[in-house]
Symmetry: C2
Subunit: 405 residues, 2 copies
């Protein structure tokens, strides 16, 4: 089965009118894991799972005691997700191992195709749940107590026969890993815009999330002269534009105000309160510092100029995860051997590679997303690109096998 | 009973935790009308009502066949209204007639204190309902078919014993009126800011209401470079600021974006759609034309610069109602006689005087609103200002009686 056929099979699991809902440890997500296990066994791989439902399918290597190269992504989706985000990297890992078989390639390291549990954080409020536990970034016992949005703990969900751990699988323990490779859809428009089918990720961007609360003074839309107003929405609008300008000026950085709530939100009432989200990302932390500094300056000016109060609350801060140069080079060689072109691109979105990057040499390959769309049912990648991605991943495994210990 | 005592009695009717809810033809609003009628009878006035529950209390004049000078406001409130908007002008009209009695003043014209029905439009979706029917601006039979937010027609509500017309009152017919005076709280901060207790209204501002819909392109907050975005909220922010600037540049005009909805409104999603309300007002229609023209220019620029679509839909257009110069002068003389100062102020809010202004010489007097607040339970006017307003109204009636036919 090629990767297109495998994605067709996976996309039916959790499908509903507005996309795919395959949240961690739900029946459709368990069926996806069961499908992974049956495909892996059909390819002669040794399947294991761990205590948080990460799934592994091992192809042996030739060198005694070599640690495995892990290759994978995740099978869960957001509530109205698409068929490619995560699932592609998992299916492609199995396909790449098939390619090695067909070509009679023996690697020194064992290669394990991996399906990480719960990358999206859409049922249990922890992104990269499985990979972060595997990498030891989160304590397994603490994570098992996390309560999902349905009131069930992770431990209870894992024990459930409908959505929980697969039966009869050996448990994998330890976190031995020589390197990690992840193939993923770009979820953005850059590769499509460049007319390229492959990207090598330079770094997973640092991200900061903040919440701004502007408090002005309400009043009747008809009776308060402009000069006597403290309009919270006017102030917020200045900040939205200042953020946008700051990100543009820095370059290689993005700033987004995605969510905004206006109060009292009446057509004939001057806005008293505006709360909005700020999301800034860049592979370069210094650029985020510069954007935040600019924001602070503008806030001081707007506060003074308009007589409003502005509170800024930082509530998430993720550092940048640079991809390992030796692995990026190995992937570049693999792609060049294929006579394909590629671009070096940053990843603005987070991935399981952030977890693995903390404990092992790590790299990622991107394929284009049609129209840059992701996390929607319209998410798509052309079949040709999907197949090219598998080819690149298989070749990259061979190259990486040579360069890592 | 002075006006402060009357307002204390009225404020209990429809009072709830977050203000006063005294919507047209509800039991508390009927109790307010009954209280008006009993006060009027106690003052020896002749009480009548009309087919839409406008209430009149007549003090006779000395000149045969003179048309009456109407003096009033409304008794209904918004759902979380205050104790002064409308009720003050009605109670003050009765008090002013008492003042004339105490002083032994005889007027040539009959004077009628009026409580107009349903100025707020908060149960039946028509502002200035009673006064517009009285003035013949809306056809009574059509208005009787209007359905309230509880599914009851105006005709049914009028017939209801709980909230409907008062029993045993003679019906007033015709729209004979020599002049109209309305005393009202400012609902804005201008008089308080000037340190004055009285304002003479120059005009009730023209008002235009529009709805802007910005359609951009959604996308992942982390993966779409700034240069490839069509951010609907960035575009909307430019328009908010342009509107604000345009109103400031015109002067004697206000522009408000009070309501804004962002879609999909997710912290990590670039906004695809933003819908917002625009409310612009000025006594001078030319200024509104200039603001709209400026908005149209900016929309063209933003549309082109950002690759977004922007639709502008005008859905309400109210022309300016200038107050009658001879009546403004009469009020000015009355206030000067009192040794009080006043300011000429526009009214940004609408009032029943808009209806009467279409058929008779009309003028309004304002008293300050503490903190400029209105349509909230905190709405307040100092007792001293309330009493000064009644005095000014009584004196103005005498002056107006001399200048109108």
């Amino acid at each position: 089965m090629n990767v297109v056929e495998r994605l067709e099979a996976l996309r039916t699991l959790g499908a509903h009118e507005r996309g795919i809902d395959r949240a961690l440890l739900t029946p459709p997500e368990r069926r996806a894991r069961a499908l992974f296990a049956s495909w892996a066994r059909a390819s002669g791989l040794h399947v294991t799972q761990d205590g948080v439902s990460n799934l592994f399918a091992r192809r042996d290597g030739t060198r005694a005691n070599a640690q495995p190269i892990l290759v994978g992504s995740h099978l869960d989706t957001v509530p109205t997700g698409g068929a490619y985000d995560g699932a592609y990297g998992v299916a492609a890992a199995l396909c790449a191992l098939d390619v090695l078989d067909v070509r009679g390639v023996r690697t020194a390291h064992p290669i394990e195709a991996v399906a990480w549990a719960g990358e999206e954080g859409s049922r249990f409020p922890l992104g990269c749940l499985g990979s972060s536990v595997f990498a030891g970034l989160n304590d397994e016992r603490t994570v098992l107590e996390i309560v999902g949005d349905d009131g069930v703990t992770l431990a209870q969900a894992l024990a459930s026969p409908e959505g929980g751990l697969l039966e009869g699988l050996p448990m994998r323990t330890g976190r031995d890993v020589a390197a990690y490779l992840e193939l993923h859809v770009e979820q953005g428009p850059v590769l499509e815009d460049l007319g390229l089918s492959l990207g090598i990720v330079t770094a997973i961007a640092a991200q900061r999330r903040l919440r701004a609360t502007v408090t002005g003074r309400s009043g009747h839309a008809g009776t308060v002269p402009m000069a006597m107003r403290a309009d919270a929405l006017g102030a917020a609008s200045e900040l939205v534009l200042a953020l946008e300008r700051a990100a543009r000026e820095q370059g290689d950085a993005v700033a987004t105000v995605g969510r905004m709530l206006v109060e009292p939100n009446g057509t004939n009432v001057i806005p008293a309160h505006v709360v909005f989200s700020i999301d800034i990302r860049s592979p370069d932390e210094a650029k985020l510092d510069a954007i935040e500094a600019r924001l602070t300056e503008v806030i001081a000016r707007v506060r003074k100029g308009r007589g409003v109060e502005i509170e800024l609350e930082a509530f998430e801060r993720r550092s940048s995860t640079p991809m390992t140069p030796a692995l990026r080079d190995a992937i570049a060689r693999a792609i060049t051997t294929q006579c394909e072109a590629y671009a070096d691109v940053p990843s603005g979105a987070g991935h399981d590679a952030m977890s693995l990057g903390k404990i092992a040499p790590t790299a990622m390959i991107f394929v284009p997303s049609t129209g840059g769309q992701s996390h929607v049912s319209e998410e798509r990648t052309a079949d040709r690109d999907l197949l090219l991605g598998v080819e690149a991943l298989a070749n990259a495994i061979v190259e990486v096998d040579r360069v890592v210990d």
